[in-house]
C-alpha cells in the first residue's frame, strides 16, 4: 500500500512536470536571428528609449551586407530576421496574421505575395503616413511604385530590382568567333553553335519559378500575357505559343544539366567557365567580378535578352512594407524611409551591386562605374513588366512550372503541352 502511495505521488509529479514543460517560458531578451550565449552580457547596451524595429527578409550575403548598413541607423535598433527564402513567406504570414505578439514591424515582400497581403490587410497603406511626413516620392522610379499601388494606395517602397540578362564570357566568344546575340534568331544560332561544340547556353530550366521567369520575359517581349483583354486565361495565344516554342529551342541547345539548374547554378556555370553564356539573374551578377568566386572577372560581358517585338524584361523586385500589426508604426515608417533613401540605397549598390529604384542612382557615375551589368539591366527594366500577381496567376504559375519542365525534358511538342495547360486552366479568370 505504501509503495502504491509513493508511485501515485510520483505519477502526480510526472503530470505536473508535463504541464510545467508546456508552460510558457519567461521570454528572453533576445531577438530573432540574434545569437546570445547564456550568461553573456551584450557589449553595447541599447538605450531604453530607442525602439526596436524587426525586419523580415531572406538570408544570404545580401542580408549580411544590409545588416552592416542598417547598423548605422541611429533612431531605432534595426534587427534583421533573415531566414531561408523557402520559409520566408510562411514565417511572415504567421507573424502578420497574429493578433498579438507579432514578430515583425517591416517585411520584405515579393510582388507575387503583395495581393494576398493586401487582401488580408496584413500590410499598411502608406498614403496617409507619406502625406503627414511630407515624403517626396519623385526620387523613385514610377513603374515599380505603380506595381505596389492598389486602388490608389501605396503599400510599400520597392527596391532590389532584378531581371534576367545574358551573361557571357567575352574571351570564349572571341575565340569561337561569336558575337553577342542582338536578335532572337542570333540567340538561338549562338546557342546552337556552342551546343555543337559540346556546351550550349546555361538556362534556369529546373522545375521551379526561375523557368517561369524566363518564359515570362520571352512572352512579354512578344507582347503577350497570361490573360486576354477580357481577363480570360489565354496560354495558346500567338505570343504564348511563340514563347513556349522559343523556350523549347533554348532548352534543346542548352548545356547538359540545365534542366536541374536554378539561377545560382546557371550563374555558377558561367562564372566557372563551364558554359560560355547563360541567362542569369542580375541579383547574382555581383559574384561575377569577385576573384574568389569567379574565373571570368576580367572577361565577363552582359547584354539584354533580345525580344521578338520589343525589349520588355520581367521586372522583379522586393518591397519594404509595414506590418499592420506592428506595435510601432511611426518608428517603422521612419525606418522604412531611411532604408529606402538615396544615401542608403547607394551604399548598398556600391557594396553589392544592388539595383535600386532611385532614379538618380541609375545615372550616378560612381554607381555605373562599378556595376558592369547596369546598362543591360537598365535597358531590360526600362519598359519592364511585373509578372501577373493575382491568385489566379499564382495557380497558372504552378501549372506553368510543370508544363515548362515537361517542355524542357520531353520531346512532346511545346504547342501540344500549352494546349493541355490551357485546357486545365481555361475556367480561371483574372481576379
Amino acid at each position: 500500500m505504501k509503495m502504491k502511495l509513493v508511485a501515485f505521488v510520483l505519477a502526480i509529479v510526472l503530470v505536473l512536470a508535463v504541464f510545467s514543460g508546456c508552460a510558457k517560458e519567461e521570454p528572453k531578451q533576445t531577438e530573432p536571428g540574434e545569437q546570445v550565449t547564456d550568461g553573456e552580457t551584450p557589449d553595447v547596451e541599447t538605450p531604453a528609449e530607442m525602439p526596436e524595429i524587426v525586419l523580415s527578409r531572406w538570408a544570404g550575403p545580401h542580408a549580411d551586407d544590409q545588416k552592416t548598413v542598417f547598423a548605422n541607423y541611429d533612431k531605432a535598433e534595426l534587427i534583421v530576421d533573415d531566414i531561408d527564402y523557402g520559409n520566408l513567406k510562411q514565417k511572415q504570414i504567421l507573424s502578420l496574421s497574429a493578433s498579438a505578439d507579432a514578430d515583425y514591424d517591416l517585411v520584405w515582400v515579393h510582388p507575387t505575395w503583395l495581393a494576398e497581403y493586401i487582401e488580408n490587410e496584413w500590410i499598411l497603406p502608406l498614403n496617409d503616413l507619406i502625406e503627414e511626413n511630407g515624403v517626396d516620392l519623385s526620387i523613385y522610379g514610377q513603374g515599380m511604385l505603380d506595381s505596389d499601388t492598389v486602388d490608389g494606395q501605396l503599400y510599400g517602397i520597392p527596391t532590389f530590382a532584378q531581371t534576367l540578362i545574358i551573361t557571357y564570357n567575352k574571351e570564349w566568344f572571341e575565340s569561337e568567333g561569336q558575337s553577342v546575340p542582338t536578335t532572337v534568331d542570333e540567340l538561338i544560332e549562338t546557342a546552337k553553335y556552342f551546343k555543337e561544340q559540346g556546351t550550349g547556353i546555361a538556362l534556369p530550366a529546373k522545375q521551379g519559378s526561375a523557368a517561369v521567369g524566363l518564359f515570362n520575359q520571352i512572352l512579354f517581349s512578344a507582347s503577350g500575357d497570361y490573360f486576354d483583354e477580357d481577363g480570360n486565361v489565354d496560354l495558346t495565344s500567338d505570343a504564348a505559343l511563340y514563347a513556349a516554342d522559343l523556350y523549347d529551342q533554348m532548352c534543346m541547345y542548352s548545356i547538359e544539366g540545365s534542366t536541374a539548374w536554378h539561377h545560382d547554378e546557371v550563374s555558377a556555370a558561367v562564372r566557372e567557365e563551364i558554359a560560355p553564356f547563360g541567362i542569369c539573374i542580375t541579383g547574382l551578377a555581383y559574384q561575377d567580378t569577385d576573384p574568389e568566386l569567379s574565373k571570368i572577372v576580367d572577361k565577363v560581358g552582359y547584354a539584354p535578352i533580345p525580344g521578338r517585338d520589343a525589349l520588355i524584361g520581367q521586372m522583379d523586385f522586393w518591397t519594404w512594407s509595414i506590418a499592420a500589426n506592428s506595435d510601432n508604426i511611426d518608428a517603422a515608417f521612419e525606418a522604412l524611409m531611411w532604408i529606402t533613401s538615396e544615401e542608403v540605397e547607394k551604399e548598398q549598390a556600391l557594396m553589392n551591386y544592388q539595383l535600386t529604384n532611385i532614379n538618380a542612382l541609375a545615372e550616378d557615375p560612381e554607381v555605373t562605374s562599378i556595376i558592369p551589368f547596369l546598362p543591360a539591366a537598365s535597358a531590360t527594366l526600362a519598359d519592364g513588366k511585373l509578372a501577373p500577381t493575382s491568385a489566379t496567376a499564382a495557380q497558372i504559375k504552378e501549372d506553368l512550372i510543370v508544363a515548362l519542365s515537361e517542355i524542357a525534358t520531353t520531346d512532346t511538342p511545346s504547342d501540344e503541352i500549352m494546349a493541355q495547360l490551357q485546357e486545365s486552366v481555361k475556367d480561371l479568370t483574372n481576379n
Binding site: 502526480i12 523557402g86 544539366g257 499564382a394 504552378e398 510543370v402 519542365s405
Partner: protein
C-alpha cells in the same frame, strides 16, 4: 512453465466491489496528454479543416465550408495520384534498400576485427548527424554533372549525363533521391541491425555448423528470423519517414522534372504555402496519413496483436 501465484489478490476481491485503480491511469496520463496534444488534436483539426476552402493565415468561417468538395477535387487531381505513386515507389525502394544494404553492411562489419569495425561503424554513422535538408544540398552538388563526385566516378565507367541523367531526367530523378535517402538512413539501420545481430546467441550458429548448415543457410534460417522484431522497428520508423518524405525532395529536385519526383508531402506543401489552398492541402495531408496507416499501421497492429498473443 510454473504458474504465478496470484491467489491472494483474487481471494480478496471475491464478493467485494472492485475498487478502481487510479495508478495505471495516473502513470499513463503524461503520455496520453502528450499524444493527445501533439498528435490527436492536430489530426482532428486537420480533418475538420479539410472541409473548408480557405487561405493560409485567414480565418475559416462558415461561408468557407465546402463539405466534401476538397475530397472530390482530390480524387480528380491527377498530380495527387502521381504523387501517391511516387511516394509508394519511393517508400518501397527506399525502405527496402535501407534494410538490405544496412543488413549486409552490419553482417560484414561483425566479421572484421573489432577495432576496424568500430572505426568503420563510426564513419558510416556520420550521415545520421546531418539534417535531411543539408543532405539534399550535399547531394545536389554531388549530382552536379561538371563538379559533382557522382559523375566523376561514373565517368570511369563510361557513364555520362546521357546514360544516367540523375536529377535532370524524369526517369532517374526519383532514383537519385532514393540513393541520397539510402546514404542518410542506412547508418541508422546499420546501428539497429547490429544491436539485433549481437543479441543472437552464438550457440545457435555453432549448432547449425555442427549440423552441416552453410553460412548462407544459417543467415536465412537463423539470422533473418531472429531479426524480425528489429526489422519491424525499422519498418515503422524509417518506413513512415519515407512515406512522409519532403525535405530531401524539396532540396534536391523540388518534385521535378515534370513532377517525376513529387511526393505527397511535397504536393501538400505546394498547395498550402505556394498556392495558399489550405483546404486542398489538408485533404492531401489526410490522404498521406491514411496511406501511412494502410502501408505501415495495419501491419504493425497485426504484428503487435500476434506478439501479445504469445508469438514469442
Amino acid at each position: 512453465m510454473e504458474k504465478q501465484d496470484c491467489s491472494c489478490s483474487i481471494d480478496t476481491s471475491i464478493g467485494k466491489k472492485r475498487k478502481f485503480d487510479f495508478l495505471p491511469v495516473a502513470l499513463l496520463s503524461p503520455t496520453i496528454l502528450v499524444v493527445l496534444i501533439v498528435m490527436i488534436i492536430p489530426l482532428i483539426y486537420g480533418l475538420f479543416m479539410s472541409f473548408f476552402d480557405y487561405n493560409i493565415g485567414a480565418k475559416a468561417t462558415s461561408e468557407d465550408f465546402v463539405g466534401i468538395d476538397n475530397y472530390i477535387s482530390l480524387i480528380q487531381d491527377p498530380v495527387v495520384w502521381k504523387s501517391v505513386k511516387n511516394t509508394l515507389v519511393f517508400t518501397l525502394f527506399a525502405t527496402g534498400g535501407d534494410i538490405i544494404v544496412g543488413t549486409i553492411i552490419a553482417v560484414l562489419l561483425l566479421r572484421v576485427s573489432t577495432s576496424i569495425s568500430r572505426v568503420t561503424r563510426a564513419i558510416y554513422t556520420m550521415p545520421l548527424l546531418i539534417s535531411p535538408i543539408v543532405i539534399g544540398l550535399i547531394w545536389r552538388y554531388m549530382y552536379d554533372p561538371y563538379s559533382g563526385i557522382i559523375y566523376w566516378i561514373l565517368h570511369f565507367f563510361g557513364i555520362g549525363l546521357a546514360e544516367f541523367p540523375g536529377v535532370t531526367g524524369q526517369s532517374t530523378a526519383l532514383l537519385s533521391v532514393i540513393i541520397a535517402h539510402w546514404w542518410q538512413i542506412v547508418p541508422y539501420v546499420l546501428i539497429v541491425v547490429t544491436a539485433g545481430l549481437v543479441s543472437i546467441p552464438k550457440e545457435l550458429y555453432e549448432a547449425a555448423r555442427i549440423d552441416g548448415a552453410s553460412e548462407m543457410k544459417s543467415f536465412f534460417r537463423i539470422t533473418l528470423p531472429l531479426l524480425k522484431n528489429v526489422y519491424m522497428v525499422i519498418l515503422i520508423t524509417s518506413g513512415v519517414g519515407s512515406i512522409m518524405v519532403f525535405d530531401l525532395i524539396y532540396s534536391l529536385t523540388q518534385g521535378g522534372p515534370f513532377n517525376s519526383s513529387i511526393s505527397i508531402s511535397m504536393y501538400a506543401y505546394q498547395n498550402a504555402f505556394e498556392l495558399s489552398k489550405m483546404g486542398h492541402a489538408m485533404t492531401i495531408a489526410i490522404l498521406a496519413v491514411v496511406l501511412a496507416f494502410i502501408v505501415f499501421g495495419i501491419p504493425f497492429i497485426k504484428f503487435n496483436t500476434a506478439h501479445d498473443g504469445g508469438d514469442r
